[in-house]
Symmetry: D2
Amino acid sequence: MKNTLGSSVCVTLFGESHGAEIGAVLDGMAPGIPVEEDFIARQLEKRRPAGKISTARREADPFRIVSGVFEGKTTGTPITILIPNGDTRSGDYTRGPVRPGHADYTAAMKYHGYEDYRGGGHFSGRITAALTAAGAIALTALAGKGIRIGTHIARCAGIADRPFSETEREIDTLNGMNFAVLDEEKGEEMRRAIEKAAAEKDSVGGVLETAVCGVPAGVGEPWFDTLESLLGHGLLAIPGVKGVEFGDGFAMAGKRGSEMNDSFALEDGRVVTRTNHNGGINGGISNGMTILFRCAVKPTPSIGLKQDTVNLREGREEELTLGGRHDPAIVHRARVVADSVTALVLCDALAARYGTDWLRKEE
Amino acid sequence: MKNTLGSSVCVTLFGESHGAEIGAVLDGMAPGIPVEEDFIARQLEKRRPAGKISTARREADPFRIVSGVFEGKTTGTPITILIPNGDTRSGDYTRGPVRPGHADYTAAMKYHGYEDYRGGGHFSGRITAALTAAGAIALTALAGKGIRIGTHIARCAGIADRPFSETEREIDTLNGMNFAVLDEEKGEEMRRAIEKAAAEKDSVGGVLETAVCGVPAGVGEPWFDTLESLLGHGLLAIPGVKGVEFGDGFAMAGKRGSEMNDSFALEDGRVVTRTNHNGGINGGISNGMTILFRCAVKPTPSIGLKQDTVNLREGREEELTLGGRHDPAIVHRARVVADSVTALVLCDALAARYGTDWLRKEE
Amino acid sequence: MKNTLGSSVCVTLFGESHGAEIGAVLDGMAPGIPVEEDFIARQLEKRRPAGKISTARREADPFRIVSGVFEGKTTGTPITILIPNGDTRSGDYTRGPVRPGHADYTAAMKYHGYEDYRGGGHFSGRITAALTAAGAIALTALAGKGIRIGTHIARCAGIADRPFSETEREIDTLNGMNFAVLDEEKGEEMRRAIEKAAAEKDSVGGVLETAVCGVPAGVGEPWFDTLESLLGHGLLAIPGVKGVEFGDGFAMAGKRGSEMNDSFALEDGRVVTRTNHNGGINGGISNGMTILFRCAVKPTPSIGLKQDTVNLREGREEELTLGGRHDPAIVHRARVVADSVTALVLCDALAARYGTDWLRKEE
Amino acid sequence: MKNTLGSSVCVTLFGESHGAEIGAVLDGMAPGIPVEEDFIARQLEKRRPAGKISTARREADPFRIVSGVFEGKTTGTPITILIPNGDTRSGDYTRGPVRPGHADYTAAMKYHGYEDYRGGGHFSGRITAALTAAGAIALTALAGKGIRIGTHIARCAGIADRPFSETEREIDTLNGMNFAVLDEEKGEEMRRAIEKAAAEKDSVGGVLETAVCGVPAGVGEPWFDTLESLLGHGLLAIPGVKGVEFGDGFAMAGKRGSEMNDSFALEDGRVVTRTNHNGGINGGISNGMTILFRCAVKPTPSIGLKQDTVNLREGREEELTLGGRHDPAIVHRARVVADSVTALVLCDALAARYGTDWLRKEE
């Protein structure tokens, strides 16, 4: 019940939107993993708002790693990454009416008014910067073992990207993009739709689809730490994610068993499935095929339109029109967070399965 | 990473489809909760196969509670429920070709061939009987605090039930039904569709929708034990569940923020939301409204049609035609499992929030 | 905070002294470990009371393994061991005055009177039978990897056994004994002292010393899961254990650093220490030498002498003279429990370090 | 198996002796606890080396709290405390011969040479500064509920302090002292003995005794999270602690049950025990009396005398004479660490028992 994800490899997040620093402690990572500050910076850049389709808040995210890394490699002890909060304008926020769709009201119920309410405090999407930095190290560790993760915006504002086809190659392409789509034309449409919503002081949602290649068969537990449970747990903690589905997911509900059972076959002596409706997971355990899942991201709750709400302090209903900076969409930014959570959960499951040294690349 | 769900209140499942007994240990439950054996038996009956739409395996599930209950009430120490496996026909199963869509292959990868392969072993849906029995005690505890849980078959074989409208009353009605639908006519259609699939040696899937009334505002953690994460973790461990969504879930991805933000209002001095697109959860924390979510249940993988697969022992591809007993659908039986997991997760979250005695009904 | 020990390999205990059955669930054990029912029975026999120096309660402990074992080997899924409570005489116990030194009062404070008070309920030493059975499987797993554990009664009723000298050989000898001492003459003295205490309706305590050979260097965590912390956690949960010390333990407090630092040396190319004052653990991590520790076992609180106490039900002070069956000492029986806890904790630490398959013996 | 202590209230430590910053994340603390920076500074001062009896390393420990505190009070979200490493002289350390009694060798076995070896890295006693800062907040929270913790140096270099007599008053006195003894004359003797050891390039150990007043009866779990297990787990993780005993501890082993059973009595309607040989804990659960325990602290392994050891890099035996700064004793500094660990463990146990808000002082 604490703000930590994972058991064998685990990450703890701390910080508030308008506090001094946010950060993450990544514990249990194997020793000897190269820590590439450029790669971390690149991942943070993908998460950072950019252009018309994002909030005007711009921060270079000048992170510092203050523990757990020595001579460019992980030591095996807790890695702490700090990111100072540079550009905070607390004046934009006062403890007043609770914002619909946000955690303002529920935080007040949980913390009895002691919470740092400014900019959403500990609930702010800002905290995902720290998660992204920690995730970058997990991604590097997995890459060293031949495991690759990539996410595209499968849908946004009602516009659908095309599905994965040559997954491994596409993962590499996606990981080089800031607005990650498989069909760039669809991406352009999405961006226009986001800009349109922004112009109308409104916001849009979307669906992220993630593929993971290279996870060995036999990872996960039947009850209750199935790979779906572990991944779902982490993904559903990403702000704005309201659903997760594996393989064909909700579409499976309308199909027959004969359509959804993935036949096994032999390929160069290796067991494979001919289709992958189950998203690489049978009985909660990886089967060696591509792990595939989708997250539903709700439209950003911060909108410029007038809304009805309640002023908790004064105990009365009132109208609210938010000023300040808002994201008309977060799905394109949440994508690197999905990659990060996926990497962290897999490092945890793999370390639990194969021991704390397994993630260290053999040289 | 162990086969246990929960921290403050937790359940551990054990047993195999064709072993001597299956069972559950429920630990951390408050002392003084009445344990009603009739209610447990009734819950087990809902899970049990019945009629043409289920497997022919019939077991009265004559459970025994061997610890943690004294003079009809929980003691506060671990409660162990045992259910003997009466009607097992091991002859129906041999370690041969791995069944598509099942855990046979992944279990062999995880356990190196030492697993009890008969009837799916520890992966069998049979184990959910023990989960249901433990869940019954959790449901009683919650009911004592005014918290009610109900699930209906929102979709099955392409046929949709109507949505919740008067939720509290409907929960009570659903909990009295074996085939839980809000619109009985639609239920009749579903049953016919299941029978049709059975006649065609095939199977169908469905979607379960669960409503929870009475959870106080302020339960859940921002990172990473959001109420969505905790519930999702448990629900995604139910065999056959391949997706979970909260509130409007995946449909939110195609909407605007102005449509999905639930406005706050005051009702008799209490903060409520006028709509409930977010399913009673904001920022991962309960907001006091009805908690609402849906689970995608894939079509049962056990089908009578011929399938392509691999014989692991002999290292070659082969065709498989399953004999034996099969469920043409499990969605109607999985519904009581969804209720059980929901109750167990909520007991855990509530005990963590309010202490180990909170669930004890004040008299 | 639940009644489970361990993370990667974990054991959950359930049952009450006068309930139907007690038992243990052992989860996370590697698949393929041979489960020798004879060895389990032999371990249970060591724990069982015998002769004049123990309670008159005699039970053959006819355990049943109902899950997790298939064709004589662990499957990798939860192993459940059940032990029926045969010889219970509930009439000997009533909820009246709380017994000094026992958990009667604290259980009433924790469980508000809902606890099964008969014979100490879930707090009874009887529950250690289940722990012993689970520990037997852990001991077999470790033996398969060359790790041996043995405990002797280092002190009892003021009489001291001689210390370990040829540890590996002595472990084997101890494991064949019911009253485990290195110097049999001292053992005879101890038994006489126990009998004398029994004749005087009183009880005695003692100190257990455990040696573990064969644990590889590099197991344990600096903060806070040091090997001392993990072992201490488990050992201090054994009923009656009030202290634990590693290596020279409390005696180190009176020594100089120059006396207590164990010099490193090379022996056949392997790093060893010339002395072992630190008990095989430096900085919380195993150094490859024999792990050595001692547990203080208090005198059994059940004595036949008249005692002052309080009757909770009637809210007044009263005198108590216990009838029924009592152990004048438990130190000789607790010894196999110490072995069991040690084995379970080490299996957990080793599985966390080297993965879930490591404990499986290579053939 | 991660570097975190606790479940409901938990602390994670990070940092290395010669890294940029060390720190702690304290998670799960109730909202609304006053955070007094002066008190934290005072606690750090007690831990800091001083005068002839400590290492020459002097650091003002200018900590920063970067999250989880807002307007002077805890918010309920993770509290991060950072302490920069000012005065580090890495030149004093090279990766060469492993220091006897230290973690150099075991760290190399665990982390394969990737560890930050400078000054003991993550194993350094330096890290306890972060633990002390986190512990200060826990101590404030407990004080707000009437729970007080105090530790004295019960023995050092063979010299014994007098035992607690008027515990509550003595706790307050001790907490105002830097060298905490009940008998100041004995303290003076201890200091002289430490100086003598220092002059002889050697070091001494000692025993710490801790008393806790005000913990309500009914806290702890029978199996395996007894209060002794939880406290022992935390205390045995303090560098240098090699043993822990509760109540009369190891001395109980030589006594009779009739001497060690604490009789219950009524005092103003409240159940008390007439003696406290069991240290306030029966059956693993608090009984409302003073909780009392002792920790054995080994002599500091860093000594100036010549020692035999092994040079891992060169694979040969060699002699080692340590230069640099060393503590001739740590027992007087470890005392505030014992207080801190005790406070953190109790906050965890109390929050698990009574809920996450309980520690918040009612105003």
